[in-house]
Amino acid sequence: MSIEVLLNQFKEVSEHPHRQIEAFKAQGKKVIGVLPYYAPEELVIAAGMEPMGIWGSNKKTISHAKEYCATFYCTIAQLALEMLLDGTLDQLDGLITPTICDTLRPMSQNFRVAMGDKLPCIFLAHPQHRKPAFGLQFTVDQYSHVKAELEKISGTPITDEALREAIKVMNRSRAARREFVKLAGQHPEAVSAVNRSAVLRSAWFMDKTEHAEKLEALNAELAALPASNWKGTKILTSGIICDNPTLLQIFDDNNLAIAADDVAQESRSFRVDAAETGDPMMALAQQFADQDYEVLLYDEHSNQNRRGEYVANLCKESGAKGLVLFMQQFCDPEEMEYPYLKIALENAGIPHIKLGVDQQMRDFGQASTAIQAFADVL
């Protein structure tokens, strides 16, 4: 299949996630909603069900969720609740609710209360001390709870063998996404910012094996392209999420390509693989422990600026000339780490802009002006 055909297929999925749920249900599969961040999708796959990422919506407006939330909460979480309340996600069979940030903590309660008997909500608390033995054990304990709840929904026990297979599926998906990020950065002439996002976003909605197969085919096509002679400027994106096609179109219009990213919904979610041998629950715990350079997670070397320097290096290594930070409104983990990211970027001589975004934004005039000005500076 041609690059264009494949990209269009990913785009179709990215634009219409509900069609994926319907297709899964038509196949007789159960679907588990997976909220941010770091929920082990492997457990869902091992239970013979389909994980469906829920990262808010670029099309909805908060209405029903106001019954539960004050205004100063991240729109990703609020719109997730909105879709649970307005019927969009009625076909889900369960929902995993992680609690790693201060919005998701109380929201886990709102999700559970709002869903009542309608939808089982599976609570997940990750530890911040994730590397020491006691932290690994706590992750295993929490994941065991998630596993048991998923088994109740699927009606069958999750075997170690099935979990190892699921880890292989996810590792394959992660590897394909990492490779795609690299190739898309090398070939902006073939993959626009809008299409890049659609490819990565669709991974949250598709069957992981199907997505990986399709992505491997796309990667092969991209790898076979002649060296790019694209004329424009490459940048690095950073933040929680930047999947709004209207916003990303501004990058394409200004000849800005995404060389690589430090985005939670994108690369931060597939940087780290899990071991395919040994105890699979411990492998998943270790995978979480290995997550690093992350605004949401505790850094035991906190007196150093490791995360800021990591992102600055990522710019250099990927050939990005500058960084665009998508600052999700009301996201205090991102906001708390911004001053030191800024210092690291300044020390490395990397220009950056910070764009305030939220998922209810429909007018990108201001962002457009800022991006255009940034492109001119670069």
Binding site: E67, Y68, C69, A70, F72, Y73, T99, I100, C101, D102, T103, R105, P106, M107, S108, Q109, N110, R112, V113, F123, A125, H126, P127, Q128, H129, P132, A133, F134, G135, Q137, F138, D141, Q142, V295, Y298, D299, E300, S302, N303, Q304, N305, M327, Q329, F330, D332, P333, E335, M336, E337, Y338, P339, Y340, K342
Partner: protein
């Protein structure tokens, strides 16, 4: 509020003053001084005789001293978004060396008085003196203060001191930093973080550790979805206590002193029990004091709960309250017509504004969530882990509702006033559902208002007054309906 201060209140004030004085002295002597989150197990640090300061308590004090805004802005200038918790912003600005200071003339080394400051001048008959030129009240010069400006201790320290003039200027600039205790706490040599209150705490303390290049000792309490604290959660926290002890041993070069630790635990339990008994005096009708007074005593329960002096002071306050009950007196400066629970942290910079419409309508705050929030009572290490697992923002909605409804019933409230605190996402995040439950379960009306624990820019007085008015009307209607039924 009542001007006469009881022996218990006096003792409580002294305890906090002493904690601060001890920390300043320790710092001057080159000893280690740490900063700790308010619900870090202070018993661990006490076992090593460490002097500890508490940034949340400090930020509340700075905000109450009206310097919240200038410090929040200083943090924003460092790149911290104004969405971030006001306590965190104040503390991060302070950790960076920023201080609220008094403006002075660098030539004369005299303070520059802010003409808009101060209280109205009164004549011998107690009447306000009007300035004929402006038609406005004249200010009493004795109450006027200099303009507030932002300074930076690291900038001051870098100033030259070769000439006499330079030395005098540098010293004056040091002196000009506002003299109240929260603006004079020593910079930290290490930080103790427990995120049972919020995850913002984790990044807040990481930032301090990075700014000052100092060790961070972290106790992680993941959010809990059940009323029960499971054994696996206890095991996780217990292992962290052991790890923290090891880190403290490395930091201090001392061995963990089990006897001191046990004593600290005994003290902390004694303080917590006395605190809870003091809180329970709000059950009396009319209450011998107001929940606002309780807010003032929080400094003790935060900064000194492992010290015997704190327990003794609360026990003394208990005696004062016993006496007040017998004599039928109260420190609430108005007759108590309605009793409400105040939900959330108060708006420290706006305490008088919070109090005004309550006083006007005879509304006494007879329940605050801080009572159970600091009542850490336990008998052994596992129970201690469970106690610290149950902070207000780390418990599930059922536990949160149960605590609140318990004190609402015990303290006989007629309504609930809910602070939607712009600084506190975890606290405000499930309040809408809680409000519905309070009304369903207790039959009391609730009113919410928007505010902030430290940043005065997020409080709208007009909205607050309207909401209080609405609550009063609903409580009145409720009362009338009950009387009719009887």
């Amino acid at each position: 509020m009542a001007k006469e201060v009881s022996p218990g209140v006096k003792a409580l004030r002294k305890v906090v003053d002493d904690v601060h004085a001890d920390a300043r002295q320790a710092h001057a002597e080159g000893k280690l001084v740490g900063w700790s989150s308010s619900k870090f197990p202070c018993e661990l640090a006490a076992a090593f005789d460490l002097d500890i300061m508490y940034p949340e308590n400090q930020a509340a004090g700075i905000a109450a001293n009206r310097d919240g805004e200038i410090m929040c802005q200083a943090a924003e200038d460092l790149g911290f978004d104004n969405d971030i918790c006001g306590y965190a912003r104040i503390s991060l600005a302070y950790a960076a060396g920023k201080r609220a200071s008094r403006k002075f003339d660098p030539e004369t080394l005299e303070y520059v008085i802010n003409p808009a400051s101060g209280k109205p001048l009164k004549d011998e008959n107690g009447n306000v003196v009007i300035d004929e030129a402006t038609g406005k009240p004249k200010k009493d010069p004795k109450t006027q203060v200099p303009f507030t400006v932002l300074d930076d201790i690291y900038e001051i320290e870098a100033l030259p001191e070769t000439t006499e003039k330079e030395i005098a200027y540098k010293n004056f600039r040091r002196e000009a930093i506002k003299p109240y205790r929260q603006m004079r706490i020593p910079q930290p040599d290490f930080v103790l973080c427990c995120n049972n209150i919020c995850n913002c705490m984790t990044k807040w303390y990481e930032n301090i550790a990075r700014m000052r290049n100092i060790p961070l000792i972290m106790i992680d309490i993941p959010y809990n979805n059940t009323v029960e604290v499971h054994d696996t959660n206890v095991a996780y926290v217990r292992a962290q206590f052991d790890a923290a002890i090891k880190q403290l041993e490395e930091l201090t070069g001392k061995k963990f002193d089990e006897k001191k630790f046990e004593q600290a635990c005994a003290n902390a339990n004694r303080t917590a029990s006395a605190w809870l008994r003091v809180c329970d005096y709000l059950q009396y009708k009319p209450a011998p004091y107001s929940g606002f007074d309780l807010f003032n005593h929080m400094a003790d329960i935060v900064t000194a709960r492992a010290k015997p002096q704190a327990a003794e002071a609360f026990e003394l306050l208990e005696k004062d309250l016993e006496k007040a009950i017998k004599e039928g007196t109260t420190t609430t400066p108005f007759p108590e017509k309605y009793r409400v629970m105040f939900e959330g942290i108060p708006c420290w910079p706006k305490l008088p504004n919070l109090f005004k419409p309550l006083k006007q309508h005879g509304v006494n705050v007879t329940a605050v969530v801080y009572a159970p929030a600091f009542g850490f009572v336990y008998n052994n290490m596992d129970e201690m882990c469970r106690a610290y697992y149950k902070a207000p923002n780390s418990v599930c909605i059922e536990q949160g509702v149960d605590w609140r409804e318990g004190i609402c019933r015990d303290n006989k409230v007629d309504g609930v006033l809910v602070h939607y605190n712009r600084s506190c996402k975890p606290w405000s995040g499930y309040m809408a559902e809680m409000q519905r439950r309070f009304t369903d379960d207790l039959g009391v009306p609730c009113a919410g208002f928007d505010g902030d624990q430290a940043d005065p820019r997020n409080f709208n007085e007009a909205q607050y007054e309207t909401r209080v008015q609405g609550l009063v009307e609903a409580m009145e209607a409720n009362k009338a309906a009950k009387e009719d039924a009887e």
